[in-house]
Symmetry: C2
Subunit: 170 residues, 2 copies
């Protein structure tokens, strides 16, 4: 049960002439395989706004992606697994990410006043800090758990050694 990645790929992986690497040449199935998930999940994530709609899709046509989208998807799934939050919460977290991207875009332009730039950066910092706080909290708790398990393990091993020593002191 649950074998989402059929390893057999009948159709060749689309030679993708115009090998510009940023020309959208990946179909949803390809993306799904590369990210180890399913097309349904990708469409679902797009539907709830967790992923942006496929870039420049002529209505009625198939979705086409670039490698960048694959990586974004993998990152989303990574965060989903690690943070243990709902997709809705994850969305707000990633929306913050988007904002940061927008900040970078703005910062690269010349016609933005210093005042505005500082504001943007401040906001971005706030987002990062909120994420960081969440991650740090979980990370710390997990490390505590790890520590506790290590202790337990140590004790068990000690007992076992004691037993072995007493058993055969040959």
């Amino acid at each position: 049960m649950s074998a989402p990645a059929g390893t057999a790929s009948k159709r060749s992986p689309r030679p993708s002439m115009e090998a510009g690497a940023d020309t959208p040449s990946l179909r949803i199935g390809d993306v799904a395989r590369l990210a180890e998930t399913t097309p349904r999940t990708i469409r679902y994530y797009e539907e709830i706004g967790l992923l942006p709609p496929a870039p420049a899709r002529p209505s009625g046509r198939h979705r086409l992606y670039t490698q960048a989208e694959v990586e974004r998807l993998r990152e989303v799934m990574r965060l989903r697994n690690l943070l243990g939050v709902s997709l809705e919460e994850l969305k707000t977290l990633l929306t913050a990410e988007e904002a940061r991207a927008e900040v970078r875009a703005q910062l690269s332009r010349e016609d933005v006043e210093q005042e505005r730039r500082a504001e943007l950066l401040q906001e971005a910092l706030g987002h990062i800090d909120r994420q960081l706080e969440l991650v740090r909290h979980r990370s710390a708790e997990l490390q505590r758990l790890e520590q506790e398990l290590c202790e337990t393990r140590k004790r068990a091993r000690r007992k076992l050694r004691e037993l072995d020593a007493r058993d055969e002191p040959s």
Copy 2:
């Protein structure tokens, strides 16, 4: 939305004479409040075998718990939150925990042969190792994420300082 812990407790917390601390004197609502969850969840966990049935309950009567059960429940919820596994998987993990408890019980008895003791300890060690591997994996990944976020944060702060320096060099 989601305010499971009504802070108002009308009835006094049951003076619990026989203050033996291990005489079951906590009702399901008390346990729920202490563990910051709901009675429904406790019953559900008992139903699927994630928690043992309430100790020594005369059929038809109310469930009664001790402080130990509260702590166990809190631990279960902690693991649920941190490990991000299904309750079913969590159950098998905790079943291993149970086995370890049983090992301790056996080990405290005199009439168990060394051979058997070593076996039990070996098995327990195996369980611990499997848990530890899982925890370590997640912990490491989370730390990586934390590290990445820290880097991002640093860069943002540097940019902000650069901007401030250039803005008002008074």
